[in-house]
């Protein structure tokens, strides 16, 4: 039976493709989730099959399911398998799935490096294309580093399609691996002049995107872009370039002058075009979007021009007029775009937009929220001292009318933005502003309570003149706190009470009746507020108490003071029991303090002074960036440990403690849900008491009381008082409208007075007419603030560092790309060329000795052994690159002895077979030679060693390619390369030459130049690693002399370098293991402290293996030697021990490979 089911499902799975899945999902509307879960089970089955077509089909379906929101990360490894299929149709599916499902933290990405590299170098341009496109979706810093060089090569591909894609992906590579920008930039620059327009526009795209963020580094490209701008006919490219110039001109004023002419032409061209079209079209419809595009393009041009250019006010005026037509149009899209363009013009030409205020205000009434929001944006830039009150009044009306909290919240923030912009520049009357803020508190359900609160605090602290008024307002607010808290929906707004309480407390000397406010702050209802607000209440109640005592000082009748103490003592216990630690702590401190004071009072001791001293001193506003700008004093190292960090074992011991203390600091914003039973009971009690005391409370009928007790969950919803949701006037609060009227009157009066004065003046002095503002509408400067307002600036630390206001978001990836591109490339700046990942090669002592044994003229070499292969590459030759660098400089005084700086980098590659080239790098450290001169020893710093990469061609040949780099200031010529042949490996020499003859290198090296030469080696047996010693001789020639020099090196052929990555499917793998031809061996690695996938990636990478299958912490891997030996590994990890069981048909080879693997891991 079960078999039947299995069989049936197997039958089905073969013919269910994406179409069937889509249809199936559609036919199972009722139980979609169930259907999909069976589908996923089927897909899991399919993925277990060895047939790649079935797998690809499964992955294709997974891509669809992923799109529907199902998690398919479990199939990541299968996706990689499909990606590595040799058939394009499947590969494409794999890459598509990868681009959809992979992201930076997907760990299997590490395994794809070599696959992607292979695809990038594929002869089929669509393989390359699909790899590039996929890569742009999931590139990680590691991939970017490893592949940067390959992609850079592709930028010069013969096919424009590939060039274009490569240029575009470079942008992502720069973002992930900023070091690549400088080495790659020259080539990117070349692409600006690519014959193919697609490539060209891609390059413009990338460079403009980079330059937009860091314009100053791209100034040197201005001439090139200038040329492009005058020659290009592609509008999008033009827009990009013009935008770029917009960013560049402020940095280089001369540019602006140069640009005038071509841009004027351009404007003229477009202007003609668009005025013609406009002429023919009476009604603009969406159909003629090309018109619109041209028009908006025109505006873009104008705006970018205006930053560094002479005025185009006439054309701007015209633009604005045309925009008005757009905005008045009935088509909503046009209206939106018109407003958008208008807001762009507003930034540079506020004056020309301001005259259309009526239109903008009209748009606020639009039924479409998007349009209203755009109009709001415009308003922000249109306010002036003169019209601020009027505009805000309009907005307040809208607030009242607005439906939907989002829009209302948006209005609220806009009002506050508009008013507070540029340090309250446009506010002439702060009393008005405070009353606006107070009015805003009546908004229901706003999320922006704390925004209002922070504005209140800011104004009260910074505008000293307003404090009396503000305190009075806040006291009223506190008194009417129930209006704000009465409705649970209004919870966001209760933040305002925080500000109110603090202002009343801090500036309590301005309070008319502190006693009343004190009473208001200690009402039992306060206990329902969020904890952080209660804490402020308690603290400020203490401040108020101090003020009350002070006001009663010297008063013979001490009843008021005593009443105050009694009030505190009566009410504070409520807070002492608070669940919030902050509230509790403050309340109990203050309670004890007041009890003590009461005792003193009863003995008629004057205490007010001492109590006031508790809160003496003024708090000044501190600028938000002040802390950052404090200069670091000399000799202070912020990175140094103050105490050495405890060792790990210690911290483990302390763990229980840590857990305990972790639980503590959660008290800052407790939620009501944390309240325990006891607390609930207490609150219930308190509430009952409160209800009893509250004459307005409608007592629940007995029956409802029962229900109430049966549902404890509802209990912390404050019992509803009669809620009048109609906007109530908070009694006693003045309305902002009154201020508008008052202000108007005041201004009129002022104007009248001024006129009088002016008249007088004119009488006195006729020449006084020159005064700017004697007639006509009042100008900005005329409006005097209602109060003499002193806006306290926020404090900055003394000797603050010079402002760096353009600080960007540290998370912005472009920050890392702020790189000087004009500096010549340094030697160290190379894209990693498939090299050893690290130069931190371990040096075995034996080798060091070896190095030192070489005569002092030869640079020391280290590390032949430690070449580690970094990348597995499949089908390339093996080259040995030898980066040879010799810096020779003659010592000034002694001629016979030279101080030489030689470095050599050898990159070796071995290879067999003819066609493929595979890089193999060795890093060889060469200490420079030592030379004793005047008693000093100069030693060359070790170089990053040499790299190997290898690959197979035929079973007996290895090609070694060597890069020679001249690092000195002299000319190198007559270079000859020789290697001491061993029995096993021989350097192939031209026919007719003897077995020990040197090969002449067919080039010379001027200073600073590098070049590459290749040598072919014949290898007999590959089962043992070996080293070949060699010598390079050359002539160093400089102005004075030429000397003969010699450099020894070693080429190291590891067994690993004879392996080539070969994919293997699990069925073939299983057969291989079963065949019984293989000998086995195993090693154990202790203390490997890395995640398993890293471990696998490392083996793949360094030793040219590929993963066949991975199940949890166990994986099988495969590789093949150039002579066809199979090498199979089974890697398991448990805790920190890795066991590698290996099988191979050649035990010696296996032993050596395992040794090399072991060494790789002993080094990390």
């Amino acid at each position: 039976m079960a078999l039947k089911i299995v069989k049936g499902s197997i039958d089905r799975m073969f013919d269910k493709n994406l179409q069937d899945l889509v249809r199936g999902i559609r036919n199972h509307k009722e139980d979609e989730a169930k259907y999909i879960s069976t589908c996923i089970d089927e897909i899991k089955q399919e993925l277990k099959q060895d047939n790649i077509a079935v797998k690809a089909n499964a992955v294709c379906k997974l891509t669809y399911l992923q799109m529907l929101g199902y998690d398919v990360s479990w199939a990541a490894f299968n996706i990689v398998e499909v990606m590595s299929s040799s058939k394009f149709t499947y590969k494409r599916i794999g890459y598509l799935a990868a681009s959809q499902c992979f992201h930076e933290s997907t760990d299997v990405i590490m395994l794809t490096t070599n696959q992607i590299r292979k695809d990038l170098s594929s002869p089929n341009q669509y393989d390359t294309g699909v790899a590039l496109t996929g890569l742009s979706c999931f590139v990680t810093p590691d991939l970017a580093r490893d592949l940067a060089n390959d992609i850079m090569t592709l930028m010069s591909h013969t096919k424009p399609y590939i060039r274009k894609k490569a240029v575009l992906i470079m942008y992502k590579v720069f973002l992930k691996y900023p070091e690549s920008l400088r080495p790659a930039f020259p080539r990117l620059k070349e692409k600006l002049e690519d014959p193919d327009p697609g490539v060209q526009s891609a390059a413009v795209n990338v460079i403009c995107e980079l330059a937009r963020r860091n314009p100053k580094n791209y100034l040197s490209l201005a001439p090139l872009f200038f040329k492009l701008m005058t020659s290009s006919t592609n509008n999008w490219v033009l827009i990009k370039i013009i935008k770029l110039f917009g960013a560049l001109t402020p940095l280089e004023p001369r540019l602006g002058k140069k640009l005038i002419e071509p841009l004027t032409n351009l404007i003229h061209r477009i202007y003609l075009f668009f005025s013609q079209i406009l002429h023919h079209l009476s009604a603009i419809t969406l159909v003629c979007f090309s018109w619109l595009i041209a028009f908006l393009f025109f505006i873009t041009v104008l705006i970018s021009l205006s930053s560094g250019m002479p005025n185009h006010s006439a054309s701007i005026q015209l633009c604005v007029q045309k925009l008005r037509i757009l905005i008045e149009d009935s088509d909503q899209n046009l209206k939106y775009l018109g407003l958008l363009a208008m807001s762009k013009i507003l930034k540079t030409h506020p004056k020309s937009v301001q005259s259309h205020k009526d239109l903008i205000l009209q748009c606020l009434d639009d039924k479409d929220e998007s349009i209203r929001l755009r109009a709001l944006d415009l308003l922000y830039g249109m306010v002036s001292k003169k019209n601020l009150m009027e505009i805000v009044k309009k907005l307040m009306l809208h607030v009242d009318k607005a439906e939907g909290t989002t829009y209302r919240d948006e209005l609220l923030t806009k009002i506050i933005d508009i008013c507070s912009q540029s340090n309250y520049q446009y506010i002439t009357n702060f009393e008005w502003y405070i009353s606006i803020l107070v009015e805003l508190t009546r908004l229901e359900g706003t999320r922006h309570g704390h925004l209002i609160a922070s504005q209140m605090l800011d104004v009260a602290i910074r505008v000293k003149a307003i404090r009396v008024f503000a305190v009075a307002q806040m006291a009223t607010l506190l008194d009417n706190a129930h209006m704000l808290t009465g409705n649970t929906q209004r919870n966001g707004i209760c933040e305002v009470l925080y500000a109110a309480a603090w202002i009343c407390g801090e500036f309590s000397e301005h309070l008319e009746n502190p006693m009343e406010t004190l009473e208001a702050m200690l009402r039992p209802k306060v206990a329902t507020l969020p904890g952080h607000i209660q804490a402020v209440y308690v603290q400020n109640a203490a401040k108020l108490f101090a003020t009350v005592l002070k006001s009663q000082e010297g008063n013979t009748d001490s009843t008021t003071a005593q009443e105050a103490s009694q009030l505190m003592i009566d009410r504070l216990p409520l807070f002492v029991q608070s669940a919030n630690l902050e509230v509790q702590e403050r309340a109990s401190c203050i309670l004890q303090l007041v009890k003590y004071i009461q005792k003193l009072q009863q003995k008629d001791v004057e205490v007010s002074e001492e109590v006031c001293a508790l809160f003496a001193g003024e708090l000044n506003p501190v600028a938000p960036k002040a802390q950052k700008k404090v200069p670091i004093p000399d000799g202070l190292d912020l990175d140094a440990w103050i105490n050495e960090p405890p060792s790990e074992s210690e911290s483990e011991d302390e763990q229980p403690k840590a857990i305990f203390s972790k639980e503590e600091p959660k008290h800052s914003r407790p939620r009501h849900t944390e309240v325990d039973e006891k607390e609930l009971a207490r609150r219930r009690e308190a509430r009952k008491q409160e209800q009893a005391n509250n004459p307005f409370y409608i007592k629940a009928s007995p029956s409802s009381q029962k229900v109430y007790q049966e549902t404890p969950g509802v209990e912390h919803i404050p019992v509803v008082q009669i809620d009048l949701s109609v906007p109530l006037k908070v009694p006693g609060l003045p309305m902002s409208d009154q201020y508008v009227k008052l202000e108007e009157e005041r201004r009129q009066k002022e104007r009248a007075e001024k006129k009088k004065k002016d008249k007088k003046k004119r009488k006195e002095k006729r020449s006084g007419r020159g005064k700017k503002h004697d007639s006509g509408p009042e100008s900005e400067e005329d409006i005097t603030p209602a109060h003499m307002v002193d806006i306290v600036t926020e404090e900055m630390p003394e000797n603050a560092l010079p402002s760096d206001d353009d600080e960007r978001d540290p998370a912005d990836p472009h920050k890392a790309l702020d790189i000087d591109l004009d500096k010549p490339l340094a030697d160290s700046e190379k894209l990693p060329v498939r090299s050893h990942r690290a130069a931190e090669v371990l040096k075995s002592p034996a080798e060091d000795e070896e190095g030192e044994n070489v005569s002092s003229l030869e640079p020391k070499k280290k590390s032949s052994k430690e070449k580690r292969e970094k990348k597995k590459d499949k089908d390339k030759d093996r080259k040995v690159k030898m980066l040879f660098e010799s810096g020779l400089s003659e010592a000034k005084s002694s001629k016979h002895k030279k101080k030489k700086q030689k470095r050599e980098k050898e990159d070796k590659e071995k290879k067999k077979k003819k066609k493929h080239h595979h890089h193999h790098h060795h890093h060889g450290d060469k200490g420079g030679e030592e030379s004793v001169q005047n008693g000093t020893v100069e030693e060359e710093e070790p170089l990053p060693a040499y790299d190997i990469q290898g690959n197979l061609q035929d079973g007996s040949q290895v090609v070694v390619s060597v890069i020679f780099e001249n690092k000195c200031d002299s000319f190198l010529k007559s270079m000859e390369f020789n290697v001491l042949d061993s029995l096993n490996s021989k350097l192939q020499r031209p026919e007719g030459s003897g077995p020990h003859d040197s090969l002449t290198i067919p080039f010379q090296l001027p200073p600073g130049v590098s070049n590459e030469a290749r040598f072919v080696f014949t290898v007999q047996s590959i089962i043992m690693p070996q080293k070949l010693k060699g010598t390079l001789t050359f002539i160093v020639k400089n102005e004075e002399s030429s000397t003969h020099e010699k450099l020894d090196f070693k080429l190291h052929f590891t067994c690993t370098s004879y392996l080539i990555t070969t994919p293997c499917y699990s069925d073939a793998f299983a057969k291989l293991l079963e065949s019984g031809d293989l000998k086995s061996s195993s090693i154990r690695l202790e203390g490997v402290n890395m995640p398993f996938h890293h471990l696998l990636a490392r083996i793949c990478f360094h030793h040219h293996f590929s993963v066949v299958e991975r199940i949890d912490s166990c994986a099988s891997m495969y590789s093949r030697s150039i002579q066809g030996h199979h090498v199979c590994l089974l890697v398991k990890i448990s805790s920190q021990t890795v066991s590698v069981d290996a099988k191979c048909d050649e035990p010696t080879l296996l032993g050596n490979v395992l040794d090399e693997i072991k060494q790789t891991f002993s080094q990390c």
């Binding site: 994406l18 179409q19 889509v22 294709c60 891509t63 669809y64 799109m67 529907l68 929101g69 998690d71 394009f88 149709t89 494409r92 599916i93 598509l96 959809q100 992201h103 930076e104 669509y126 294309g129 496109t133 742009s136 979706c137 399609y161 274009k164 894609k165 575009l168 992906i169 942008y171 992502k172 697609g198 526009s201 891609a202 795209n205 995107e209 999008w236 979007f289 619109l292 595009i293 908006l296 909503q332 899209n333 209206k335 939106y336 775009l337 958008l340 039924k367 479409d368 929220e369 998007s370 349009i371 929001l373």
Partner: protein
Amino acid sequence: MIKFLLMVNQQGQTRLSRYFEPVELNRRAAQEAAVVRCCLSRNKEQCSFVEYQDFKLVYRQYAALYVVVGVSHTENELSIFELIQNFVEVLDRYFSRVRLNQIMFHLDSVHIILDEMIQNGHIVETNKNRILAPLTAINKMADG
């Protein structure tokens, strides 16, 4: 920069989605639903541009198909608006009168078209012939 492109039907079911910035799966579903709801709830008298949290939505309706694009605030709305039109025209040409079914059944082709038009979240190609050229070549290759 373009953050994502969605194709949804009138019932709000996603027919194609493409993200140019990785979004966490759980969040994505919720966000997608909210975005789609936001667009579908708008009537024809409202404009095609909506502000949604920290990004903007540009959408167009073609019969039962909605194309919704989420972009960052720096992106030009009009160019995206035109991109959608262009994209649909390309699909129309490729499928010779596109229907929703075709989009679903040939997801990979649609994705290739998108890849040609948008990379790194930026518009990179608008010419219809150039967009379709690789796809036709690939199809030929797969057939042959």
